[in-house]
Amino acid sequence: MRPGAEPGEGGQRFGHTELPPEQAHALRRAKRLEVVTLVYMASAVAVVFATAGSSQAMKTAWVEDSLALVPPLAFLVAVRFGHRRPDADHPYGYHRSTGVGHLTAAVALLAVGLLLAVESAMSLARAEHPPIGTVQLFGQTFWAGWLMVAAMTYTGIGPFVLGRMKLPLAEALHDKVLYADADMQKADWMTAAGTIAGVLGIGLGLWWADSSAALLISLSIVHDGWTNLRHATTALMDERARTYDDEHPHPLTRRVDEVLTNLTWVDDSRSRVRDQGHVFHVEAFVRPVAGRAPTLEQLEAAVSVLSDLDWKVHDVVVMPVRDLPDTIPAPD
C-alpha cells in the first residue's frame, strides 16, 4: 500500500473502489500465490536449463517455463498500478493496467509459441536424432534422460497445484490476467508429461518422439497465446463486459437495465457496460415516464442502486434522455 493511502475495509482497493472482505482476502492471497509462483517457476527454469541437454522437447519446456513468469509479473504489476486512485491526467484511474498486462503476456506467448513450433517442425523434418548420453552424479553413472524426467516431474507438480489454487481467486477478483495464468498453469502438467514422453521416446530409440512432443507443446503455447490475445484485445476495445473467463456476457450488463427500468420514474433504459479491468464503467441512458425530467434526488438514487448491485460496478453515469439513443444496439 502506498504511503498516504488510507486503508478501507480489508485494506485493499482498486482505484477508489474499496474491496469487500471476500475480494480483499482473495487479492492478498492471489498476490502471495503469484510470488510463490515466481519463485517456484524460477527454480524450475534453472533445473530444466541445467538438465536440458540436446532434447528439443526439454528446450521447448524450458522456454515455456520461462514464459510462465510473465503472467504472474503482469498480474503483480497490474494490481500495483490498478490500486492507484484516479488523478487529473488519469480521470478513469489505472484499471486498464490489467488489460495492458494481459495483452503483453498474450503477445509473448503467441510469438514464442510460433518460433518454437517452427523450430520443432524443422528438427522433425530434418530427422535429427537427439543425443543423450550418461551423466555422473554423486559417484553414480546413469542415463542423462532420467535426470530430465526428474526435472520435468518437479516442474510439472507446482503449476498443477498453484493453477488450481488461483482459479477461484481469479473469479472472485474478476481478474483476467490471473485467470489466464491459472488456466495455463492448470494445463502445464501436460507439458511436463509430454516432455517426459519425448525423453523416454529417445531412450527407446524413437528419435522422432522428442521433436513431436516439442511440436505439440509449442502448438499448445500458440493456442494459449491466440486465445489470450483475442480476449485481451476485445477487452481493450471496450467489448461488452464478459465473465472472468470470457465465456459469457457478464450478467451485470443485463441487471443494469433491469434495475433501472424497475424504478418508478423510468420508462425504459439502455446501457453500455465495459470492463476496465476488475471494475466496470457503466453509462446508462434512461427515458423517464411521460417525458418528465427526474429530480437530482431521483438520479442520485438511481446511481446508488446501480453501485449497490456489485462491488465491480464502480464508475456510473446515468443520463436522462427524451429518446433512447439508437447508436447503442439493444442487447441480444
Partner: protein, 150 residues
C-alpha cells in the same frame, strides 16, 4: 484438442516404455551397438593431432587410437580405421559410415550440432559418435569412465 492429445501421447509412450524398458535402454535408433557386437567391427575415424592421434604408415597410433582399440577389444570387435580431416569425418558420420572418431577433440568443438560428443573422459577431451546413437554413446562413456582417465 491439443490438451487431449498430449496426455494420450504421454500415456502411450509411458506404457509402451514400461514393457520395453529392461532390454536395451537407452536404445540406438540406427542400432550401432548391436551391429558392432554382431559384426565384430568398430568403424573408427581418426584425424591427426600431435599428442593424441599420430598418423604415419599403417593404423593410427597414440593415446586415443589405443583407447579405441581397447574399447573394441572389450566389445570383442576389431577396429577398421579411416584417416581423414575433421570435416570429412563429420560427413562420414552423417552418412552413417563410421561409428566413432578420435582427433584430440574437445567439448567446445564446432561440430557439436552435427555429431554426438561423449562426456569428457580426461579434462575437456571427447570422442565423436554418431548423433543420437544413445546406447552406443552411453556404452562408450561408461567404458571411458573406467578406462579413459590418467
Amino acid at each position: 484438442m491439443l490438451r487431449r492429445i498430449l496426455p494420450l501421447v504421454a500415456a502411450i509412450v509411458l506404457f509402451g516404455g514400461c514393457g520395453l524398458l529392461p532390454s536395451d535402454f537407452p536404445a540406438d535408433p540406427d542400432g550401432t551397438l548391436d551391429r558392432v557386437r554382431t559384426e565384430g567391427v568398430v568403424r573408427a575415424g581418426a584425424s591427426p593431432r600431435p599428442g593424441w592421434v599420430e598418423v604415419a604408415t599403417g593404423d593410427p597410433t597414440g593415446r586415443e587410437p589405443e583407447l579405441v582399440e581397447a574399447f573394441a577389444e572389450d566389445l570383442g570387435a576389431e577396429v577398421e580405421w579411416t584417416v581423414a580431416g575433421e570435416e570429412e569425418l563429420v560427413r562420414l558420420f552423417e552418412a552413417g559410415e563410421i561409428d566413432l572418431a578420435v582427433g584430440g577433440f574437445t567439448d567446445t568443438n564446432a561440430w557439436v550440432d552435427k555429431v554426438g560428443l561423449t562426456r569428457p573422459y580426461v579434462s575437456t577431451h571427447v570422442l565423436m559418435v554418431p548423433m543420437g546413437e544413445n546406447a552406443w554413446q552411453s556404452r562408450l562413456e561408461r567404458w571411458l569412465d573406467d578406462n579413459g582417465g590418467g
